[in-house]
Amino acid sequence: MRRSLLALLVIALLALPAGAQAAPRIVALTPFGANTLAKLGVEPVGVGQTLGGRERLSPKLKGVPVLPLSHPNGPNLEQLASLEPDVVLSSPTWAKGNESMGDLGIRVLIREPRRLRESYAQTLAIGRLVGRARAAEELVKKTKARVAMARREIDSHPRVMVILGVGRTPFVFLPNSWGGDLVAKAGGELLTGGVESGSGFERISDEVVVAEDPDVIIAVPHAEEDDIPSLAEYLRSNPAWAGTSAVENDRIYISVDNSLLQAGTDVARTIRKVRRVYLDNWPG
């Protein structure tokens, strides 16, 4: 009798589909990683504090412990270890911390796409990791369809400079940055002075801004909603930019929601916003 029960148990376990196996305990330090897990129906055991608070995290993640992050270490290792994660979805930003997490025996995967196509590949990889490959394929398909809708009827391509930070020493977003890629997908002609950099950002001369004469300047400072009017005024007052079409036509915009700064899963919505609010090339 006991042998029969044991045999039944073994058969039952073997018969379980791969997807039903216990998913690894995951801490997602990036909003992209955390929201992708939420969309796949997996709850991480911890999430990283997002830039500017929690507004970029899915409501499904309410109640999940939030880990404060510091540069370049990422989370506090003791706090992280207390969550007993098997896997951490991290970012190159926390390079030093990633090494230390590895030393703790935690598997660290970089899941911080800097281009739209990378986000598809990383979604599929997360799906495979949590045993939801089919759901991840569906998610990618759905996202691609939404992005295609958001990119429909692009009939104007204004010259756009996207700048990071505050002050008189702005860094420009390059095509290999999340914001740079999305602005280009929204139909903007990204102005970079021909610069390339592995980091996706570079400080370029104001002389190039004058020479390339952007139609639109989008500033991505680390600031709050309340700071927008004064920051816009400050940027408009930059004597180096005074003669540009962007300033003359009052097309300097401030984006404080970090949707251009850090990858998320709300790609189509971000592209629509860029087209509607900044590039003015949304149909109708």
């Binding site: 930070g165 020493t169 001369s205 002389e207 004058v210 680390h222 400050y234 007052s237 003669g243």
Partner: protein, 340 residues
């Protein structure tokens, strides 16, 4: 024999000084020409001359020269001269070859003031120069208050120790802010690394009075500093008041260094090394020579280094500090080997 030797030496020094002045002036002119003629965008030399002479020039060329390069060149000259003079009078006043604006807390205070605005009040970013200036002067005032109170008031060692303590305090504050808001740190990098910006005349028009007061005070302190170099007792017997001279020099240096930080961020190295270079090159420690020569040398070095920083990887702009080291250190080491 010794009298004869002294005469030859004096004659050598009197020849060297004009030579050094000549070389520094030539370097300064070369740096100014390069700073105006070179940049991320190629502007023909004729167009540069036309703009400078007020003649017709195409829109972008005029804007690049008039609004970007000319104010930036003037800022480089003012900041370079100010830091050179600040270092020269501090080294003289404190009789310490390692003295620089760092020693009186200005650099630490200015850094904290600027980072405070960048990190906590990004909406008030226009106040960054004011924050740097105010906290730079506040830090210096703190050092003076500590050093000129209690036992051994105004003693050199006390000034230096108070300066190091205040510098550490503000540096800790700056580090704390950067650690607490890591995502905002990129905006602070260029201020910390030091470098000029192309922000037109706006900042200079607000800061120039501090430069003027600092330079005038430094000029008035030249002779008293020479007397102080003979030692406190001798200077006192000649009617000078050593503690007052030291305080005056520290205040003048604080004004010059804080105004410089407000415009160019934390530019190190220059204030420490340039006075030594001109002292070694001129073969004299007389402030009549060292102070103006440090102004010329500092201005030439910063204008030259800034031109390199914005043209070497153009259109990418890099911090100016490493380029000052590239230009200044070989000369400094050569002089160190030859002279000391």
């Amino acid at each position: 024999m010794s009298a004869h030797g002294l005469t030859i030496r004096e004659a050598g020094v009197s020849v060297r000084r004009p030579l050094v002045y000549g070389l520094l002036t030539a370097a300064l002119l070369a740096a100014v020409v390069a700073s105006l003629a070179l940049g991320a965008v190629k502007v023909p030399v004729e167009a540069v001359i036309d703009v400078l002479l007020g003649r017709e020039a195409s829109g972008p060329d005029r804007q690049i020269i008039e609004t970007l390069r000319l104010p930036r060149t003037v800022e480089a000259l003012a900041v370079g001269a100010a830091l050179g003079v600040a270092g020269a009078i501090l080294q003289g006043a404190l009789a310490n070859p390692l003295a620089s604006p760092d020693v009186i807390g200005v650099t630490g205070g200015a850094g904290f003031g600027a980072i405070l605005i960048i990190i906590l009040f990004p909406g008030s970013i226009a106040l960054l120069p004011v924050g740097a200036l105010a906290f730079g002067l506040f830090a210096a005032a703190l050092v003076f208050a500590i050093a000129w109170s209690g036992a051994n008031r105004g003693a050199t060692g006390k000034v230096i120790l108070a300066g190091i303590a205040v510098l550490s305090l503000f540096t800790a504050g700056t580090t704390g802010l950067l650690a607490a808001y890591p995502e905002r740190a990129p905006s602070a990098i260029f201020f910390i690394a030091g470098g000029l910006t192309s922000s037109g005349w706006e900042e200079m028009s607000a800061i120039w009075p501090y430069f003027v007061v600092g330079f005038v005070a430094a000029a008035l302190l030249i002779r008293p500093l020479d007397r102080l170099a003979l030692g406190d007792d001798v200077a006192g017997s000649l009617g000078s008041r050593p503690h007052l001279i030291r305080l005056g020099a520290a205040i003048a240096a604080a004004l010059l260094a804080a105004a410089s930080a407000a415009i160019a961020g934390l530019v190190g190295f220059l204030g420490l090394v340039v006075p030594h270079v001109v002292r070694m090159a001129g073969g004299t420690s007389s402030h009549t020579f060292v102070v103006p020569a440090s102004a010329l040398g500092g201005a030439a070095l910063l204008a030259g280094a800034d031109t390199l920083a914005r043209t070497l990887r153009a259109p990418v702009e890099m911090p100016v500090g490493p380029f000052m080291a590239v230009l200044g250190v070989p000369l400094f080491l050569w002089l160190l080997r030859k002279v000391v």
